[in-house]
């Protein structure tokens, strides 16, 4: 009986189905996007580089560094640094820094580098340092504690920050020259301010004597921007879902009201109001469930597509969203079935059949 009713009036069924699919689809897509927004944007924000800096005056032992890196959450990037003040040939001071170039490249994506050093003995020279130290890209000598070191220029580095005045060597070169150990570890941890603070606390406990500080500039601005973005998306989500719900309610109610003649016939044939109500409710619920499942599939697809287009990585499906959407749709369907009942409840079957 339900099937026949759906088939008999196909265009009306199709329209109601469209409304259900659209409402469920958009709600699923937006809720899914919203719940994955933090993860997506935290990854974006890691472009700003380190949000935790760990330092110790005496330098980290290689085992400590390994241990620290192994303990970091997935997706973190850490790069060791060490700084020394060397003298150029004109006796002016130059900061010589050493790092693991491969990691620095991943951590500090904004560094504009003409060519990364490939061989031992080659250095990355800041753009201001290059102007002062190297003529036309030729090598130059530096002196640290009476020990000279010859630097070959592999490429220039431009950041607009302190790095522009520095000379970057590989860790091996600097350790051989000055026997200094890395004493700063810059870490980019993906996650909220609280997660960053948790990682910092764990590192503090793990390496006693080291100073571990979240970079407030990065962490606070990130939390702020993220909060605002989340707010806007939430606002949009509420508005859109509210609209979809209201439209769905209107369409379903109309489709039930449309069948007041069926209602009248059934009543005239002796069905109780409750029975007719249950029948309508069952019919509309079945309808809503089918539409909802289709909508949820489409919505998942939509959110995955948005993730792919905008963030170049698919949005992780949040299955917890689905029962919420299904429950919401069924609730709307139940209201849509009950509302006409209230309106039609008192009407005489005869009057309805007459078309009044």
């Amino acid at each position: 009986m339900m099937l026949r009713s759906a088939l008999r009036d196909r265009s009306r069924s199709v329209l109601a189905m469209v409304a259900v699919v659209v409402a469920a689809g958009v709600s699923t897509a937006l809720l899914n996007l919203y719940s994955d927004l933090d993860a997506k944007l935290h990854t974006e924000f890691r472009r700003y580089g380190a949000n935790v800096v760990m330092s110790t005056p005496d330098g980290f032992a290689p085992e400590t560094l390994q241990q620290v890196e192994a303990s970091l959450p997935a997706g973190s990037v850490a790069a060791p640094f060490v700084y020394a003040v060397a003298k150029a040939s004109d006796q002016s001071s130059v900061i010589v820094a050493a790092t693991d170039f491969a990691r620095a490249k991943r951590l500090d994506g904004w560094w504009s580098v003409s060519a990364w050093p490939q061989r031992p003995g080659e250095a990355l020279v800041g753009i201001r340092a290059r102007k002062n130290l190297s003529h036309n890209g030729a090598g130059f000598d530096l002196n640290y504690g009476g020990k000279p070191h010859h630097v070959e220029v592999a490429g220039t580095l431009q950041t607009g920050g302190d790095e522009d005045s520095r000379v970057y060597l590989s860790l091996a070169d600097l350790m051989q020259w000055t026997s200094l150990q890395p004493n700063v570890l810059e870490i980019a941890v993906p996650g909220s301010a609280a997660e960053v603070e948790r990682v910092a606390a764990r590192l503090r406990a793990m390496v006693p004597g080291a100073r571990v500080e979240p970079v407030r500039q990065i962490v606070e601005a990130e939390a702020n921007v993220l909060g605002k973005t989340r707010g806007v998306l939430l606002g949009a989500l509420v508005v859109v879902i509210l609209l979809a719900t209201m439209c769905l309610l209107a369409t379903l109610t109309t489709s039930v009201l449309d069948r007041r003649k069926d209602f009248a016939v059934m009543r005239a044939l002796g069905a109780t109001r409750g029975m007719v109500h249950v029948l309508f409710l069952a019919e509309i619920s079945m309808f809503a469930s089918i539409g909802c499942v289709v909508g949820m599939l489409l919505g998942m697809g939509l959110s995955a597509w948005i993730g792919q287009v905008n963030f170049q990585s698919a949005v992780t499906p949040r299955w917890s969203v689905l029962p919420m959407v299904l429950a919401g749709t069924l609730l709307v369907a139940a209201i849509a079935a009950a509302l006409p009942m209230v309106l039609l409840g008192r009407a005489q079957p005869a009057a309805l059949l007459r078309g009044e």
Partner: protein, 422 residues
Amino acid sequence: MFVRLVYQSFLRQRRRKLLAATAVALGTAVTTAMLVVASDIGDKISRELRGYGANIAVYPQEDTLDVRIGGVNLKPSTAGAYLDERELWKIKQIFWRHNIVGYAPFLQVPVEVSTGTQQRNVELIGTYFDKRIQLSNDDFTTGVTKTHPWWRVTGAWPADDGRDDVLIGRRLAATLGTRTGEFITLSGRRLRVTGMLDTGAAEDDAVVAPLALVQEIAGRPNAVRRVLVSALTKPEDAFARRDPGAMNPADRDRWYCSPYANSIAFQLREALPGAQAEQIRQVAQNEGAVLGRIRGLMLLVTLAALFASALAVAAAMATAILERKKEVGLMKALGAPNGMIAAVFYTEAGVLALAGGALGFAGGALLAQQISRAIFGTSVAVQPVLFPLVVALAILVTCGASAAAIRRGVAFEPAMVLRGDA
């Protein structure tokens, strides 16, 4: 006759028309709200991203190399060149002056600080906190409160024109055991600590004072080592990276008149002779990337919402027309041509779209305003051009959705419909 048909239809079927108009109004409201919010999100987030602080650094061209590790300056104050503090107001006179959110000059000198019991060598940083700059057209306040919004002070900020008040870094205060309101001695001067500074960076180990006081202590009137500028910029693209020197005049004008970090830095170099201005890539480059992502997200969500409202409105309209099969049958039975019936329906749809669209636009603008107020604390400008656009969209969707239903409705055999068989 035609007008009366339409008029009577609205008068007689008030409930149905109200339902359809509500659907159109809701769809338009969502469309408007989303369009307004999405078109404004770039500006809003751009402002929020200024929370990362300065994106342009200005320093003397002839300067020797910076000797800074972890934000601590190791360069003796005798070495290198300085900028002149008296020239800095020109930063607010460049072409993109309205995009300059703030700037803060810095001068660092190593000093010896002593309390009653302890002595320590620390860095003394001079800067503006919230300094009032007199300009010919209007006044402007700037300083670290604008460029370094993550600096937090427990206690009070010192006055910029004061000569006796300083801030003390959180860690330094802990090692010295100094508290807010106490006095420290710095190069023979007794200074009052008005507050404790927490930045999570090198300033936690330093004393921060008004610029004028540090210039006095250093014996270098009007000297500034570098200026950090926070500017609203447009994300960098390939055009922004080109060298203005190698452009033709038209391109150069376009480059100059776009608020890229590079062109603002270029204008700062023009305004301050002898100064070098560079974008701070960590902030400037990533701002564009993050902004692009957020803007893209909102754009796609808006598109999805637009599509959904169009479908929802279409479904509601089509339902409303299919409901009226009997009426169509009656009209046809009375001899109305198909074109006439379609015209009646289209006119009705148009009137509904116009009314619903106008109402929805007003509601949507209000909604966007509420969202903006609640989240960003500022109002949002609703572009007037959106109104015809949104209403046209509403008419298009409504009539488009009605078209299929009208075609079907008109095709019914009157006798069948009236008997209730179709």
